[in-house]
């Protein structure tokens, strides 16, 4: 393999990983940006979505059914958490939300373990996604190409909804001034529940899409949450552009790192974060506090 082919391969890997990471972190950013809640249960949602998706895909014999159920189940659990618990606590400070959602992550993780057991699980790729494509005469997994396309589409739709639609306008106005928005006759509670559910739905979607690469296991949420916190810290909390750029940076470190310095790639990821924070404590695109 020539250097050019290798770099092209690693570059495509980076893009597919980045699109997965962006789907994971966009929900975290959405929820934090609108509601000022740093959702510690996000990783557990990711894992939960993956498990429900795997079961749904097996039951229906269809990968796409798994995809749908992964997103819907995580969104439903998110809606339950928000409307049953979090909405009664908006007077509390940000740190107590970190504690409560940390408790929720334990509950969700252990409930999943109770329901599905501790074994890891896999999912059958549909034939349309199972093959390889030739990129400059080198084989590259088709599934990773699909990930790039799917991620870009999903994130693109979310961006358009938030920036162009009336719902997006309301969501943005709630993040600016919830009381004033409420006074204008908007049902703020419902929109917050919806926002939380959509954020969690993206986590579930990301979890299921990650299964063909990493196989599903109970601990996948606890590594994902750390990874997404690192990305959010690099990009800046609450910034969509930040979560995209952060995902791209972390994915680059990981895919190139795993090839050139496999033992150090994880360490380099954390060093990258520390370096960015030394330079800008609020993250690359965050507001200075």
């Amino acid at each position: 393999m020539s250097v050019l082919q290798l770099w092209l391969n690693l570059g495509l890997n980076t893009l597919s990983l980045a699109s997965l990471l962006a789907m994971l972190t966009v929900g975290l950013t959405l929820i934090f940006g609108i509601m000022r809640i740093m959702n510690f249960a996000h990783g557990a949602m990711y894992m939960f979505g993956a498990y429900v998706g795997i079961s749904a895909a097996q039951w229906a014999g269809n990968f796409w059914a798994g995809l749908l159920f992964a997103a819907l189940s995580a969104a439903a659990v998110g809606a339950i958490f928000e409307s049953g618990l979090l909405r009664h606590l908006y007077k509390r400070d940000a740190s107590s939300f970190l504690l409560i959602t940390f408790g929720l992550s334990l509950v969700l993780t252990e409930s999943t373990r109770l329901g599905w057991g501790s074994n890891s699980r896999d999912v059958q790729l549909p034939e349309a996604l199972a093959g390889v494509v030739l990129v400059m005469d080198e084989p590259f997994p088709l599934y990773r190409v699909f990930l790039i396309g799917f991620g870009l589409t999903a994130l693109g739709i979310l961006t358009i909804v938030i920036l162009k639609s009336r719902l997006g306008l309301l969501i943005r106005s709630i993040s600016q001034n919830a009381e004033m928005t409420q006074a204008l006759g908007v049902n703020v509670g419902t929109i917050r529940t919806l926002t939380f559910a959509v954020g969690c739905g993206f986590a579930g979607l990301g979890g299921f899409l990650a299964v063909p690469l990493i196989t599903g296991y109970i601990g996948m949420g606890s590594s994902a949450i750390i990874e997404s916190f690192v990305i959010v810290m690099i990009g800046g909390m609450g910034s969509f552009l930040g979560s995209a750029v952060g995902s791209l940076l972390v994915a680059t470190t990981q895919s190139f790192g795993n090839f050139y310095f496999p033992d150090l790639s994880l360490v380099v990821t954390y060093l990258l974060m520390i370096g960015v924070l030394l330079y800008r404590p609020g993250g690359l695109f965050g507001e200075e506090e």
């Binding site: 740093m38 618990l85 606590l89 400070d93 940000a94 740190s95 107590s96 970190l98 504690l99 409560i100 940390f102 408790g103 929720l104 992550s105 334990l106 509950v107 993780t109 252990e110 409930s111 373990r113 109770l114 606890s222 750390i226 916190f229 690192v230 959010v232 810290m233 909390m237 033992d263 150090l264 994880l266 360490v267 954390y270 060093l271 974060m273 520390i274 924070l277 030394l278 404590p281 609020g282 506090e289």
Partner: protein, 320 residues
């Protein structure tokens, strides 16, 4: 503090009355209690929600293991471990306190993960995922070996934990300790008086790290085994649960919370595999219903009772 002497005396007598595994369990409780108390120095008193408190704990444990492997006496190994944890906490405290609130929590988490990744990957030094074994509680200077046995080590832990509680209490009642609480309560006023909030936060962070390093060193001396597991962030989560359960902002509350968690773990894991589920639910209930924890409930009950018993004092307060 008025119960401290009888409690310590009772604990000190425990090895004569209890079975071997119960002494072991008590040792484990005391070490976890010290760990929880150390976290509360920054979490309760300085309101720094660290999700990376395993870092000084784990580093202390590894440092103690290395020192014991090198043949150093146990007390010196513990002292060295505390030194290492303290020195490590200074730059990390300086860096982390550049952020505040949730960002601070995530930064500490990431630093702890960095430590975990290094320990996990650096096979030649740390033994990687297998960890370190093959060390013993070496006798002290002049061949003193009173703490080498199981009971002797329990007494050493008891003395250390009580001494650290006493020291931390003294510090929190000192001018600097009060200033740290002052910054927590009203940062603007504290800086108007002339305190530098960030410096005080770093002091609390480093002190807390030193105590955690000591708990970690005791952990290594207790199990005579260390592995990357003690640097995994889930342990940070458990110690946070202990602190919140017992009551933040008090040194004794987190110790009680820690004891409850170790006991609950032992009792529940015999019955069900999903004790984290029970713990998670309990934790959520406490955070929502009793933000000051179990010790806080006790304190407010005691205040109500004493008010009822002494109405004249209450009236006087109401009048003034």
């Amino acid at each position: 503090m008025k119960y401290a002497v009888p409690i310590v005396a009772m604990l000190a007598a425990a090895p004569f009355a209890l079975q071997s595994y119960q002494v072991t369990l008590l040792t484990e409780i005391l070490i976890f209690a010290l760990f929880a108390m150390s976290l509360d120095v920054q979490m309760g008193y300085a309101r720094l929600f660290s999700f990376g408190h395993v870092l000084p704990y784990g580093v202390g444990a590894y440092a103690c293991a290395f020192a014991l492997l090198a043949g150093w006496p146990l007390p010196i190994a513990i002292a060295a471990a505390v030194l290492v944890a303290t020195l490590l906490s200074i730059p990390i405290g300086w860096l982390s306190t550049r952020a505040s609130g949730v960002a601070f929590a995530m930064l500490t988490l990431a630093f702890a993960q960095l430590g975990y990744a290094i320990v996990f990957k650096w096979n030649t030094l740390t033994g990687g995922s297998d960890g370190l074994t093959g060390f013993a509680r070496n006798a002290g200077p002049f061949g003193f070996d009173g703490f080498v046995s199981r009971d002797g080590f329990f007494w050493l832990v008891l003395i250390v934990v009580f001494a650290m509680y006493w020291l931390a209490r003294g510090f929190m009642n000192s001018a600097m300790g009060r200033a740290i609480v002052g910054v927590r309560e009203n940062e603007r006023r504290a800086s108007a008086i002339g305190y530098v909030p960030r410096t005080l936060r770093i002091v609390a962070f480093v002190l807390s790290g030193a105590l955690a390093g000591m708990a970690g060193a005791l952990h290594a001396g207790f199990l005579l085994f260390v592995s990357p597991e003690i640097l995994h962030w889930t342990l940070s989560g458990h110690v946070i649960i202990a602190v919140v359960l017992g009551g933040t902002g008090t040194l004794i509350g987190p110790m009680i919370g820690a004891a409850l968690i170790v006991l609950a773990h032992h009792q529940l894991s015999a019955v069900t595999d999903s004790w984290p589920l029970v713990m998670g639910l309990l934790f959520i209930i406490v955070v929502i219903a009793a933000p000051k924890g179990l010790w806080g409930i006790k304190a407010s009950l005691a205040a109500k009772i004493s008010q009822r018993r002494a109405p004249p004092a209450g009236e006087k307060h109401a009048a003034s």
